[in-house]
């Protein structure tokens, strides 16, 4: 019907490039081999994937812990030891200035007295003491 009426042959009108069908079987086999290699590599990776992820996770955790710890340690380093040291150095001067043994204190006082004594004559000192007594007396009488 269609063929007779329109004078159309049933011949296939499509061509292929030269030696296309000769090369195709090898081409497909090579593609399958490549796919297999890729799949086996992927499969190997898939087997180790959970372990790789776990190791990566642990490494990340270790890194985070280390960073956290170092931050804490650094904080302590910044505050405590320096503070202690500062406190120590400040306290040290205070303590050193305050905590002196009795002997040293005594000699210090004496040495001052000596210097005072050396600066004033015995008469002047006597007058000074008398003046002090008078002040005390005056104060006493004033209070009474």
């Amino acid at each position: 019907m269609l063929k007779e009426e329109n004078n159309i042959s049933k011949k296939n009108p499509f061509k292929t490039p030269k030696s296309y069908f000769e090369d195709l079987p090898d081409k497909i086999v090579n593609r399958i081999k490549e796919d297999k290699e890729r799949t086996s590599y992927k499969r190997t990776f898939d087997i180790f994937k959970p372990y790789i992820y776990m190791a990566a996770g642990l490494l990340a955790l270790a890194f985070l812990m280390k960073s956290g710890l170092s931050l804490l340690v650094d904080k302590e380093d910044i505050t405590s030891p320096i503070k202690t040291q500062t406190a120590y150095s400040e306290d040290d001067t205070i303590i050193e200035s305050l905590i002196t043994d009795d002997y040293l204190f005594y000699t210090y006082i004496n040495s001052e007295d000596e210097s005072i004594e050396s600066e004033f004559s015995s008469e002047e000192l006597e007058e000074y003491i008398l003046a002090l007594n008078n002040i005390e007396y005056d104060l006493y009488f004033e209070l009474e």
Binding site: N6, K10, P13, F14, K15, P25, K27, I28, R31
Partner: protein
């Protein structure tokens, strides 16, 4: 030949030592028929080449699923048809926002195709076939060019013989009308 029939080829592919050799025989045996089946649907040689390779690769991977009570050729034809229809569906989607249809593009590419060897009448017929809905186009090509029986087409397309007969009848009528109009 080492592989006398399709069952031998399938057993060979399933075996470990002869798998590659048997598979090559299978490709050599069916490549031309499957190529022409796909080519008539997508026109371009490059697209046909891709789809044909995919068809054989899928067949190789799925050979364990092949049931030997059905024909190897029918099974291969079904894989090729599914691959082709999926490809056309994707192509059509990519043409949704363009001024031309995928079918128009096919007609244009047919005109400039260096691997189209038909005369004027054959070109006219191919152009008329490309204007059919793809299911009708498939049925027409399988019946008219590949000389497949309705029950074979039915097995490949999973459609009843009655529906196929109606489809082919409509296709022929439409082609005749298109050819008369020109």
């Amino acid at each position: 030949m080492q592989f006398a029939d399709d069952n031998d080829i399938v057993s060979g592919i399933k075996s470990k030592d002869k798998s590659e050799q048997a598979f090559k025989i299978l490709v050599e045996k069916y490549q031309k028929r499957l190529y022409m089946h796909i080519r008539k649907m997508v026109i371009s040689h490059a697209d046909t080449d891709d789809l044909l390779q995919e068809t054989f690769i899928k067949a190789y991977r799925g050979i364990e699923k092949f049931r030997e009570d059905s024909s190897l050729f029918t099974w291969l034809y079904r894989i090729a048809t599914n691959e082709t229809l999926n490809f056309i569906k994707k192509k059509k989607r990519s043409y949704v926002f363009t001024a031309t249809d995928y079918e128009d593009q096919l007609i244009l590419s047919l005109k400039g195709d260096e691997y189209f060897d038909g005369d004027k009448a054959e070109y006219k017929l191919q152009r008329a076939i490309l204007k059919l809905p793809e299911k009708q186009r498939l049925v027409f090509n399988m019946k008219y060019y590949d000389d497949l029986k309705y029950n074979e087409i039915s097995e490949i397309l999973k459609t009843s013989v009655g529906a196929l007969k109606a489809s082919y009848h409509h296709a022929v009528k439409k082609i005749e009308e298109i050819l008369k109009e020109e």
